[in-house]
Subunit: 144 residues, 6 copies
Amino acid sequence: MVDITNKNTTLRTAVAQAVVKVSKPETIAAIKNDTVPKGNVFAMSKAAGLLGVKRTPDILPDCHPLPIEFTGVEYKINGLEITVLFTVKTIYKTGVEVEAMHGASVVALNMYDMLKPIDKGIEIHNIKLLHKKGGKSDFKDTFR
Amino acid sequence: MVDITNKNTTLRTAVAQAVVKVSKPETIAAIKNDTVPKGNVFAMSKAAGLLGVKRTPDILPDCHPLPIEFTGVEYKINGLEITVLFTVKTIYKTGVEVEAMHGASVVALNMYDMLKPIDKGIEIHNIKLLHKKGGKSDFKDTFR
Amino acid sequence: MVDITNKNTTLRTAVAQAVVKVSKPETIAAIKNDTVPKGNVFAMSKAAGLLGVKRTPDILPDCHPLPIEFTGVEYKINGLEITVLFTVKTIYKTGVEVEAMHGASVVALNMYDMLKPIDKGIEIHNIKLLHKKGGKSDFKDTFR
Amino acid sequence: MVDITNKNTTLRTAVAQAVVKVSKPETIAAIKNDTVPKGNVFAMSKAAGLLGVKRTPDILPDCHPLPIEFTGVEYKINGLEITVLFTVKTIYKTGVEVEAMHGASVVALNMYDMLKPIDKGIEIHNIKLLHKKGGKSDFKDTFR
Amino acid sequence: MVDITNKNTTLRTAVAQAVVKVSKPETIAAIKNDTVPKGNVFAMSKAAGLLGVKRTPDILPDCHPLPIEFTGVEYKINGLEITVLFTVKTIYKTGVEVEAMHGASVVALNMYDMLKPIDKGIEIHNIKLLHKKGGKSDFKDTFR
Amino acid sequence: MVDITNKNTTLRTAVAQAVVKVSKPETIAAIKNDTVPKGNVFAMSKAAGLLGVKRTPDILPDCHPLPIEFTGVEYKINGLEITVLFTVKTIYKTGVEVEAMHGASVVALNMYDMLKPIDKGIEIHNIKLLHKKGGKSDFKDTFR
């Protein structure tokens, strides 16, 4: 684990995405109409993601435990693709990029798990960092 | 959570993949030569994945806790892409597809975390089920 | 921990309740209209409860880890009181009463947490077993 | 999750209660005489509560992880009722009310679990905040 | 992780020990008289051990999750040494040796943690398997 | 749990050890040549230890959750003994001695688990604090 005892505390923000691709329009309709048998997909996956992001240092050996001061989940539907945007903020010595990517992947996996009984062809694409702020270098994915 | 009290116990196997795409050949070389500063990427990510897969029902609300009887991780390098193959087996009433996908995603995220200090352009692609056996229907991704 | 190596495996069901008492009708309306700022209270609290019930043996020293084969959450609104009904099923050697009570209490605590910003007077009442089936003795709370 | 990046750090204290109601005087005697078969009820339930309170952000999606700087458990016996008083302190940007309520509920549930073999009629009542200090508004339950 | 899908289910028992060596008789007296400031050392360390043993597959990558059907903790005081005996039983396809050793080590570490304020010279010795039963080969440590 | 709300934040370092004693030179050779069937023993045990140390407050009731800012694992082979040195740093109000001892014990237990299939005679010895810095009193084990 990187030694951060000498680093400064600053506000750090990271936004990551995951793309959930379903295989038919009926799946999108079931989500929107809240008729998926396992329950409300967006609300329950948000809950899983908010919990999951706090478990990042329990799952990834080199991640520092840190004071997560904000997490937010947004969903954007575009045809058969649902983009999950996961935002994490902290005021600490190290960034929250991996936390945001972990959060996005948990939300996407939970959507897969809830939708599997009604759609066998779901895939998860493009888990990646969209931008981060704070720390040594800002980052912005130019292809967003 | 789906009621599985009336289901039969059978051997279930699932294999999922995640693709980690690095941005330069030096990253692949550092992994192969075991010179990544955070340590041995393949062994440590395997450890994270083996632990992570057992946490699946702690992270995803609808997943049943189940007796994971085998987990295996394989890595295939192809140019700048590393494919993670994650296999899970159980003898139980419900399948291990989501477990395999969760395991693959944890391995991929840990690779991202360990490689981030030497490569800022890493993305995770195509987390998907490759095949499953046991249960009502087998499945084989034909585009593998 | 009680030694259960000699006990028989049977289907066990337990239903527990928790009562969340809010202090004003506006709180009930906000839940029903899905306008609580932290999100959909029933769906997110269900997610927390489904996850929480699986953590019971991690939280209570004497609880056996067991294969939870069904969990369900129901809400009943009666004036200012919301009754949470939490059902757990297993086919195992020991019952799921404590698991059901733990699930009900996690759902209730999460409702408290999500509603706290809009209602300072919430209390949790009557966490108790309503009935159980299977094992040495059935149980039915006669005052239900 | 509420964004707390702009909030100030202050000393926060919260005390919550849970009431465990047993169904016969023999249960109280067994606790006092340390003859409960599963072990020392007060010490083991305190251990469960101290651990449980630290798991609050793992169980409740919207709770911020925070530096818990003190937790204390007190028991008061009054006839067939045992009141659990759970105190939590932090120096942080957000309060510890939910943490105190979660701690009280874990202690109460563990008492239920340990006493269940000798008393089938136990209920948990009145999980509520007794007082809190620090933050925007102090709170004192006037009916304590 | 070793593939156990083809193994038979049998009753498995393992007993492991850890030795906690304190540096002065006053420490032993404080434990016996229940005057250690952090609380009842034996009861609270038992609680930690019972919980810890159930977390073994969460902490050690290659350990299979398994149905722990009994855990017991015994303490033996001999001069300045306290021997922790930790027993685990399961009816499953793989043994519980590592679980028993993990349980013993958690109990010992918790004793260290609770006693540290009154004794700076504590060490933990000889975490080892004492005997196991069931599976391919029984084992008995001849120097016990 | 000790109340630390009034303590000062300083840099704290602790180094603990655990000694893993194998029963034959072939075991040491298998570790060095990376031919242990379960995988790379040093890398996977380091991963387990880095994760385990962050779980210390989840396992030991009285341990404060704290910002772990560095963890490092070193191995020293001497004949049939492998000494695990585990270092933890924090900038906080309380020390990381127990965290370092917990980390060392998890690394040692994982080595035991991975080596068990090829060596039945492994023991873990001398889990102890080697030195600590920061806080009221420094400490150095004079027999190191």
